[in-house]
Symmetry: C2
Subunit: 410 residues, 2 copies
């Protein structure tokens, strides 16, 4: 008998019929002899409806009152799911974040969980009840309602699993697991049975939007075994776990890509100390986030300094650079919004040389020009022309045989 | 400077536009130098929408979970109203029943308020804030969410006013006060400037559905001055207060009527002790409520025993009586659903004889036959054929000059 925390998102509880379906899944888990704590989001569309009401009153609602408003969304779901469970003869009890209680700081709309008092939850589990908890919300020390920000229900589930020492935290979504890459680009993309936390972090931040990144960090910190699986389809999903020495570890787990970036280059900057700060300082002061940064020394004592930003920030960043460039003695500013970033991710590459050259050779065979390169311990990213996105991802998926199940010692 | 508790019902906060209107009224009260605590209901239709969701899942939702669900309705309103106040530059803070906290017993769906901790509300008032409290809800000693039942927001307002020692509790509705009778029946009906609690109780229970009766009882118990006034129309409304010796007290304050009753008579019952219990025992065991009861001794040693019930209970009550009558030696059972009850209400009648005869004489002049009579300290009720309802009410309204403002010493 295990203790399982299950989290169901807004699509999974979008209407009473789906809530009944979720109740059936919870009942089935319990029938296998497990204790179950369920965390739910607001019914799909409900949070947007509530925000719409607030916006009718004011474009800038008070953050405290917005939390009072939005937290009702999950409260509706916990009540309905508990009713559906009790109808099936499964004793259940619902709790808001404040009732559990999930203590957070007082940063309304983006609060962080400080502490969970699990006494009531444990007492209910011991009494044989399923405990249904509202995701996304908590209370600060003064008892004010707070929310964790969009997607915060994943974080609630992981934090509860950590506090309770749960055996597994299961995140139910509308996909049946984490894939080697986006199946819409590579139809042969394969569902991964397991993946490490570090890989998941890289894949999530690069655009495979299966899990909220904060919840993955949280799970990593407290070593909570996390499983992603589908509400609508039976299957084992993907287990997100730690790197184990004896684990069958493929070199590469997956290929992520990001179409939302744009590239900016300051041309012919004199190559002397302080140049990078001189360029990026004004960018960061404007609250523009920078992703990849590449600088190469040229032979004439000048350098081209290139970095990427979100496409929405491109125009603003270019204007800033055009003001800054003359002061730095640069020759000019260049930019391109029609680029994509493609990344190979895998903890296996730590111990294997040659991944990068194999990657670059595969791209070269297809005549795909690499505009930028950046590497980390478990990731190699390249920037290419956006026309080559699908070709690049398929080529790399093939080159690293990602549609084949991993082999012993590969 | 006074402390005012204002309560706005569902129609008054039915949409963001009306919530803005309410915010304007609250801001105006505050601009007059008063401290304001506002109690609000769920937006009109919201409670029914939530009940609809529950019913899609189960016809008999768990009372505990129904309270978790329904309490979100008022929580949405407090957040939106606080936003609207802050937009106007009025500092405001919202609280759920549990946050205040409003402690209740654990009778879910019909909880009673035990105690109010007014510390947070007082602190906010001292800090110059308007406090916005969710009506209709509280928490029990274990922190479970409870609701007070439909109309409970009035009770919340009165209980808060009592706990805070407020100078006045203002109940805003869609009527501009309490009238001498229903203006749809008597166009000359006059708004009363003031009325006693006892009169209000009689008028409310007799069908002038302005205020929830429990909240009036509560206000009477704690001597909270209560004012009924309109959200949509300026005016002083009606102040519900205590009988004061020097108050300009008219004999009669108003005329109530009730079209929902039906009359049942057990004919020719032998006149001996225990007969009333023999008839009404089986009726009350069937959970049928009885209103008026009349019994007259006849000369032949038998009596006719007559009482009224709600029309919905008429058929059931008649069946019971038809089984009971032979055992009691009665001659038979008669019934009539086409009756109405018309009541004169006024604390002034306590000290004045002759009200009853003046009433009966007025009805006799119009040839209206009186079928039943029942009296209390401040009320005389008669049952007449439902065809005469309008005629009877207009006749009495005229006879007691209710469209004239009260005169000194009348």
């Amino acid at each position: 008998m295990a203790l399982i925390v299950q989290k169901y998102g807004g699509t999974s509880v979008a209407n009473p019929e789906r809530i009944e379906h979720v109740a059936g899944k919870v009942a089935a888990t319990r029938a296998q002899g497990h204790d179950v704590v369920v965390v739910v989001s607001a019914m799909a569309g409900e949070t947007d409806r509530l925000i719409g009401l607030a916006k009718e009153i004011t474009p800038r609602p008070s953050p405290r009152e917005l939390d009072v408003l939005l937290s009702t969304g999950e409260q509706v779901t916990i009540a309905l799911l508990s009713m559906a469970l009790e109808k099936r003869g499964v004793p259940a009890r619902s709790y808001t974040g404040g009732q559990v209680r999930i203590l957070t700081d007082n940063a309304h709309n983006k609060a962080r969980i400080l502490e969970i008092d699990d006494a009531r939850v444990r007492a209910d589990l011991e009494a044989g009840r399923v405990v249904v908890v509202a995701g996304f919300q908590g209370v600060d020390r003064e008892g004010n309602i707070t929310t964790l920000g969009r997607g915060g229900s994943d974080t609630t589930a992981v934090a509860l699993a950590a506090a309770l020492g749960a055996d597994e935290c299961q995140i139910f979504t509308d996909v049946d697991g984490v894939y080697t890459t986006d199946p819409r680009v590579v139809p042969e993309a394969r569902r991964l049975d397991r993946i490490t936390f570090e890989e998941m972090l890289e894949l999530a931040s690069l655009g495979s939007k299966v899990l909220q990144i904060r919840s993955v960090e949280f799970a990593g910190k407290y070593r909570v075994p996390l499983r992603v699986l589908s509400t609508f389809q039976e299957g084992p999903g993907t287990l997100i776990t730690y790197e184990e020495p004896d684990m069958e570890q493929p070199l590469i787990s997956g290929i992520a890509f990001n179409r939302d970036e744009a590239k900016l280059t300051v041309l012919g900057v004199p190559d002397r100390p302080g140049i990078a700060a001189g360029i990026l300082g004004p960018i960061s002061e404007a609250n523009i986030e920078v992703d990849m940064i590449v600088q190469n020394v040229a032979e004439d004592g000048t350098t081209d300094f290139t970095f990427t930003v979100h496409r929405n920030d491109f125009e603003r960043a270019r204007e800033i650079l055009e003001q800054v460039a003359p002061k730095l003695g640069a020759r000019g500013v260049d930019g391109d919004t029609r680029i994509v970033k493609v990344s190979l991710v895998g903890v296996g590459m730590r111990s294997h040389a040659g991944i990068a050259s194999r990657m670059f050779a595969a791209l070269a065979r297809e005549n795909i020009n690499i505009q930028m390169i950046s590497t980390s311990e478990i990731k190699i990213s390249v920037v290419v022309d956006e026309r080559y996105l699908e070709l690049a991802v398929r080529t790399l998926h093939d080159a690293f045989e990602l549609s084949e199940p991993p082999r012993e010692g590969d």
